[in-house]
Subunit: 241 residues, 2 copies
Amino acid sequence: MTNKKDAITAYIENHIQNKLYSPGQIIPSESEFCRMFHVSRMTVRKALDELVAQGVLYKEKGRGTFVSQKPRYASFQCGYGFKQEALRRGFVPSTKAVTINLIKADHELADKLKVEINAALWEVKRIRCINDIPVVYVHEYYIYHQCEDLTITIAAESIYDHLAKKNISFAFADQRLEAILCPEEIANDLHISDKHPVLLMSVLAYMKNGVPFNYGLEYYVSDQLPLIQSIYNKNNHSLSE
Amino acid sequence: MTNKKDAITAYIENHIQNKLYSPGQIIPSESEFCRMFHVSRMTVRKALDELVAQGVLYKEKGRGTFVSQKPRYASFQCGYGFKQEALRRGFVPSTKAVTINLIKADHELADKLKVEINAALWEVKRIRCINDIPVVYVHEYYIYHQCEDLTITIAAESIYDHLAKKNISFAFADQRLEAILCPEEIANDLHISDKHPVLLMSVLAYMKNGVPFNYGLEYYVSDQLPLIQSIYNKNNHSLSE
DNA sequence: ATATACATGTTGTAAATACAAAATTACTGT
DNA sequence: ACAGTAATTTTGTATTTACAACATGTATAT
């Protein structure tokens, strides 16, 4: 733990996990943390703000800081990587039936990935399994010149990890959600009938500079694996419905 | 604008909107903003951090702060209130076929909303339309003692607005996504066949203290209105896939 | 007893300063 | 001309101080 701030967040998270701080309970004031850790109040506040943003704590002006009562879901939360997320939930992830192909960008792909038409792209198709049951068919595209050395072996493991070594790393994504009947050729691979409804998630992933590097269509067998997402009201606006 | 910090975020957002700062372009350094606004560097950093968290800007240590190239979607982004979001996107929202009923909490509802079994709940059913086309059937529950004066008129407008007056306001939510074939009785109301796939979103909404106050099932006709969500990698972890 | 005023403790915002870490730029010696 | 070094600029982390805004408890006056 190199940061003083991170030491404080870790301390609080541990205390919550070990039930030394219970949901709804008030935790020490900012000045008390200053004394406890021999740090300035700004450092304490940064640590607390981080946990507030995650929904772990909440503050009330003039009263204090409290532990949220938000329950932690044990289900599948997407968006932060399939393999990692599955392992964290205690599932066994695997990848099957991988194909990679070099193609030329058509109008739609060029538009989405902000490359020129006919630019070289990797087309990757993968079936992701949880406990050996196929749960998602991924059909996605990467920009060839960012990853000329892609292989099936890499694609079976983690393309994101491979790209990270080239300083291409995930920062945020826009997801488009739709319910559709599973296309026939995909239904076969997912071991379901083509009358089965699937959750189609279109994902456009960006680097921190806002440049897209990965576009994909993910067909989830959502009755095998319902997806969970958390949203936060960052701005504290009062919401009209 | 009462906050100095908010004045700076507004200034930068306006400059981006008016194309005075373009995507990928570097913006003035933190010290320059200090001189421009006659504020301390901490205030500037708080303003910038807020925009970085939203994905509007990104920073590079030792280089500077830049405008993201992330495109802004004109489609429907859920999670921040149906009416508000629709209006912002230039759609015309409306609510139809509202029913409200007093019921007693069964085991499942009591568990979700953290109330006792047989506690009084409002059961609300609504059909939400965009440009007069039904897009979502909402079947949800509120805790009676938090809102004893609920009426059909209020439910046709905005229950969240009504609750906000009682200091019950949305802070965050957990959403569960699934693709299903539309149940018959709901398909009728949505003017679709019961063989039509719909996006089922289960929403559990919390106040800032982490106590749930609203549980609902939302059946989206997602080919009429695909949902868009944005996710961010707050922790800057390197992601395995 | 009740209401008012005050003191105290808490979070919120802001300033001024210092040094670390990383990238760029300018300089300098060969 | 080129490589290496130093200076400069930039963001990252942290300290110290000050006051504002809000909530709560206590003492006081009526």
